[in-house]
């Protein structure tokens, strides 16, 4: 099952897409997922990450079927 990657708000607009699927991610961390989807561009400052809809870190491990999200600082309320 592919790994799902999602983007929100300003980062979604910057990436030009809301989501994508990555095949062949058997074991990696979030930083490696970012490197792959961004073609090794630096992660914008203050970007937050989530794995399977829980906050995570760049070194959090991910595998096939996981959902990884990248988004800017939150501004609700």
């Amino acid at each position: 099952m592919p790994l799902q990657v999602r983007y929100f708000a300003s980062l979604r607009e910057r990436m030009g897409r809301a989501d994508e699927s990555l095949d062949g991610v058997s074991a990696a961390n979030v930083a490696e997922v970012w490197a792959r989807v961004s073609q090794n561009k630096p992660l914008p400052a203050n970007t937050l990450v989530a794995v399977n809809r829980e906050y995570a870190d760049l070194d959090s491990e991910v595998k096939d079927g996981d959902e990884v999200a990248f988004f800017p600082p939150v501004t609700g309320g």
Binding site: F8, A50, A69, P72, P73, V74, T75, G76
Partner: protein
């Protein structure tokens, strides 16, 4: 412990009354209810704001708000809590968020309500995009509490 996201305008006073009447079970047990209502302004940094879009992360946003309510219930002796948050297109004067906490005595309700709104504002996945007469812009960060 109730969390709702709403795509349409709501009246916070009506929602508070409905919740207290129908959901808060311990009638006669609570002596305090503290609520916070966040309302959309028509200005930000001296610019006139005409409308706002509130984006969220379906699934994660609801889960995170539930976690915030659960943590408040662990930290304080509250009988119930409520969070209702708008998503989608908003106009100035629309209610953005209603947060409330019920407890036997006022201290726990004040503390829990403050915790709920501050946690929501700093961690819950929502993003505001403001629309001006010309152009629009993502809000980069919330105003810190001073």
């Amino acid at each position: 412990m109730t969390v709702q996201l709403r795509a349409l305008e709501f009246d916070p006073c009506v929602e508070l009354a409905i919740h207290q009447d129908k959901v808060v079970k311990q009638r006669g047990k609570f002596g305090a209810v503290v609520s916070f209502v966040g309302t959309m302004r028509d200005f930000n940094d001296d610019r006139a704001v005409q409308a706002m879009t509130l984006e969220h992360y379906p699934g994660m946003t609801e889960n995170h708000l539930q976690q915030i309510c659960a943590e408040a219930a662990r930290r304080w002796d509250i009988l119930d809590s409520l969070i209702i948050h708008r998503v989608g297109e908003l106009r100035p004067n629309d209610t953005i968020v209603l947060v409330a906490a019920w407890s036997a005595h006022r201290a726990a309700a004040f503390d829990a309500c403050r915790y709920l709104i501050e946690e929501l504002k700093t961690r819950a996945p929502f993003w505001k995009k403001e629309r001006f007469r010309e152009g629009s812009q993502w809000v980069e960060h919330n105003t810190p509490v001073t």
